[in-house]
């Protein structure tokens, strides 16, 4: 793939503050490249230096093999269009007036727009679905419409490359997808090279074929979304703990944010959770976030609790989907239980398939393990075994299991139980 833009060791400063510090990378012709990075990492500054607005104090930017800052600005504008984050226009131009301004780089000083220029503008407006706005005042259209108009203006420039600075950050999700899908279509069908700054990592992952992750004015890493957007990279650059999984439909990386309080704990102790079907997912997250060593079982592969345990790297016993708990799995579950300091029984429904999980909890009680039961619903409403599960469940209560009604109470109880227990190994 030919390189349309080559950036070689550039440094940029605002006064004495150095914002970009030795960046080097290339952008392939016809690619859709995303620039990501935390606030203040220099994304917008980079875009300015690529768009011939902020000259780097050191290093070179090559557009199609020619030094960008030695080219005539008009010539650059014939090849490159820029869409800023937001454009405020206070003067009463119509949408049409604005779009036709995109022809400016192609017009000589004494030249007026001709029929070909109007045709180009009309085509760009058709692509961006703004034709119906043509005679409206730019001051009287919505934010999403205005951004589409600005993109129409950029397309009217007939550029080879288009730079965007968080083009959808002020738009609702529907408009975000609409605009990015439009860009993707232009990228694929018209071979338009697109470089865009993204704040939203999921949007960047969805639409870009290549990502540049910036950190503190330098390139942290470059590559395909799946290589760049790893939990490790994000932790290191953004300082945030996230889950990265494959998007079920597109197969791109998908980033799931964790709440702040679920990543700060460093509690000691091992907890086994008996759950399934999604009843334990949030509890697993909370416990793991608090720092407890967590295990779970027996879970049917593919259900929500199983997936969550997978994300959180929790040791678990799993069973083939829709099959009852086998003797083998049951034994493994008991083994995990025996290793734990506390056992928690989530608010799960019982059928013939997972009755063994209740037996496992009962076994734990016999071993004098503390057992906490989360009871959000009466057992009668979730007993689908003609009373057999209810019998066992009430047996647990009689044998000394502590009944609690929510997760907060569980966390508090755990703290009491494990604080009084001498640390393992003493």
């Amino acid at each position: 793939m030919a390189m349309i833009l080559k950036i070689n060791d550039i440094e940029c400063s605002y006064g004495t503050v150095k914002v970009l510090n030795g960046l080097t990378f290339s952008v392939g012709s016809g690619s859709f490249t995303g620039i990501i990075g935390p606030n203040g990492s220099g994304k917008s500054t980079l875009l300015k230096s690529l768009s011939r607005v902020l000259k780097p104090v050191k290093g070179t930017v090559l557009l199609d093999g020619r030094a960008l800052y030695r080219m005539d600005p008009q010539e650059v504008a014939q090849k490159m269009a820029v869409v800023p984050q937001e454009t405020a226009v206070n003067f009463s131009f119509t949408v049409k007036d604005i779009v036709i301004m995109g022809r400016s780089p192609h017009l000589g000083r004494f030249q007026s727009e001709g029929e070909k220029d109007f045709a180009t503008a009309r085509q760009a407006m058709a692509l961006t679905d703004t034709l119906h706005l043509a005679d409206r005042l730019i001051t009287a259209v919505s934010g999403g419409e205005r951004q589409r108009v600005i993109i129409a203006k950029a397309l009217t420039q007939e550029p080879e490359i288009i730079l965007l600075d968080e083009p959808t950050s002020h738009l609702d999700i529907n408009h975000q997808i609409e605009i990015l899908s439009l860009l993707q279509r232009l990228n694929r069908e018209n071979n338009l090279t697109i470089i865009s700054v993204f704040h939203d990592l999921n949007l960047a992952a969805q639409y870009c074929d290549s990502l540049i992750l910036m950190n503190k004015g330098t390139v942290f890493t470059v590559g395909e979304p799946a290589e760049v957007l790893t939990a490790g990279n994000i932790k290191e650059v953004y300082g945030a703990v996230v889950l990265v999984r494959k998007h079920p439909v597109t197969g791109r990386p998908s980033i799931i944010l964790m709440a702040r309080d679920s990543q700060i704990g460093s509690k000691i102790g091992r907890v086994h959770v008996v759950c399934g079907g999604g009843a334990g997912a949030s509890l697993l997250g909370l416990l793991a976030g608090q720092g407890y060593a967590v295990s779970a079982g027996v879970l049917n592969a593919g259900d929500v609790d199983w997936e969550t345990a997978g994300f959180l790297d929790i040791s678990m016993v799993d069973e083939i989907p829709f099959l009852p708990v086998s003797e083998q799995s049951h034994q493994k579950n008991i083994k995990l239980l025996a290793d734990a300091d506390v056992c928690i029984l989530a608010n799960i429904p019982f059928g013939w398939g997972n009755l063994k999980n209740l037996e496992a909890v009962s076994f734990a009680l016999e071993q004098t393990k503390p057992v906490l039961i989360i009871e959000e619903q009466d057992i009668k409403e979730r007993d689908f075994t003609d009373g057999r599960a209810g019998l066992l469940y009430n047996g647990l209560k009689k044998k000394g299991a502590v009944v609690l009604h929510n997760e907060a109470a569980v966390l508090k109880k755990l703290q009491d139980l494990l604080a009084s227990k001498p640390p393992a190994g003493q």
């Binding site: 820029v82 780089p105 017009l107 043509a134 005042l137």
Partner: protein, 350 residues
């Protein structure tokens, strides 16, 4: 308003305005104490047009009427037209460059600089020595120019000019210079009346000599501004977006600021500080023809010329035989008209 309407309206305005200007020139040349008839004035003017002029028969009028019409009235009317056109065009350009509809041609402190220069010239030279009638205009012109150059350099960092800093530097320099002018006026005694008259602005006693001084500046200035008309539209999107569209914004700022400054300083030097024309006319015309500078700029220049000719005619007759400085008339019309425009505006934006 649909697009068709707009185009039609723009064309009509560009065809009608020169006609209106012509009629205004003739009408306002007619106005005066001598009581010369409109048709006589029209005939006299037409006879001066090369080629066809000789075909028109001379009317029955006393010989001194031609002197009154050509030497006194017409020169003044043309001067008013040039000043009005120059101020209005400069106002359009500065409002566009600063992306600020409150800007006017005096924003760079030209008026205060010129006023100080004129005051100093009147006090020290008495307006009589060396360069004769040119001494006050010349010193005013140079001081106005010097002020705007200082303000420009105050706002310049390296090769870039920050337009918001330019605005503030202009205000600061203006206040500083006016205070010096005020001090000079207070301590000057009997000359204060003459200085005040100059500062309000007017065309009393001006003639063809002034037209000759002014004409090249106004023509050159307007030509430069018109060259950038299309690019001025683009700069209303903001400086960076304009750069993205291939415009060398810093160069454009330099050329346009120089053009507006020369135009304004030369206008001020011959007529004094005439208020409101450079602010009101661009606004009013923009509301009529829209923000496209390719139409706005010529339409504003023509309208400015018409407006100032009429204002000067009023200044001559309103309190005849006494003359009111035209700056008072423009401010009196301008203020209320401006408020009316602002109140009736029914769409967002300018």
């Amino acid at each position: 308003m649909n697009q068709h309407d707009r185009i039609w309206r723009r064309r009509v305005i560009l065809f009608i305005l020169p006609g209106v200007l012509g009629v205004t020139v003739v009408l306002c040349t007619t106005i005066g104490p001598a009581g010369i008839a409109f048709t006589d004035v029209l005939t006299m003017l037409l006879r001066r047009i090369p080629w066809i002029g000789s075909l028109i028969p001379r009317g029955e009028w006393p010989a001194n009427y031609e002197t009154i019409v050509f030497q006194m009235r017409l020169a003044r009317v043309i001067l008013a037209a040039l000043v009005g056109a120059g101020l209005a065009a400069s106002g359009v350009v500065l409002q566009g460059l600063l992306i600020n509809p409150m800007a006017d041609p005096y924003i760079l402190g030209i008026s205060q600089g010129a006023a100080l220069g004129a005051t100093a010239a009147m006090l020290s030279l008495g307006g009589t020595i060396a360069l004769g009638i040119y001494s006050v205009p010349l010193v005013a012109f140079l001081c106005g120019l010097a002020t705007s150059i200082i303000v420009y350099n105050l706002a310049r960092v390296g090769n870039r000019v920050q337009m918001s800093t330019l605005l503030l530097a202009g205000i600061a320099a203006g206040l500083f210079l006016s205070s010096i002018t005020s001090y000079l006026m207070i301590t000057s005694g009997q000359n204060a009346h003459q200085i005040l008259f100059w500062m309000i602005g007017g065309f009393a006693g001006r003639g063809w000599d002034h037209v000759k001084i002014l004409l090249p500046y106004i023509l050159t200035g307007y030509f430069l501004m018109h060259l950038y008309a299309r690019k001025l539209n683009v700069i209303l999107l903001g400086e960076e977006p304009a750069q993205h569209l291939g415009i060398d914004v810093e160069k454009m700022k330099k050329i346009l600021l120089a053009a507006a400054t020369l135009t304004t300083a030369s206008a001020v030097s011959v007529s004094g500080v005439i208020a409101f024309v450079g602010l009101i006319i661009p606004h009013a015309v923009r509301m009529l023809v829209g923000p496209d500078h390719r139409i706005l700029l010529p339409a504003a220049a023509l309208t400015g010329a018409i407006f100032l000719i009429i204002a000067d005619a009023l200044a001559r007759v309103a309190a005849a035989p006494e003359e009111i400085p035209v700056g008072i008339i423009t401010a009196l019309c301008g203020g209320p008209f401006f408020i009316y425009l602002l109140r009736k505006r029914n769409h967002p934006g300018y």
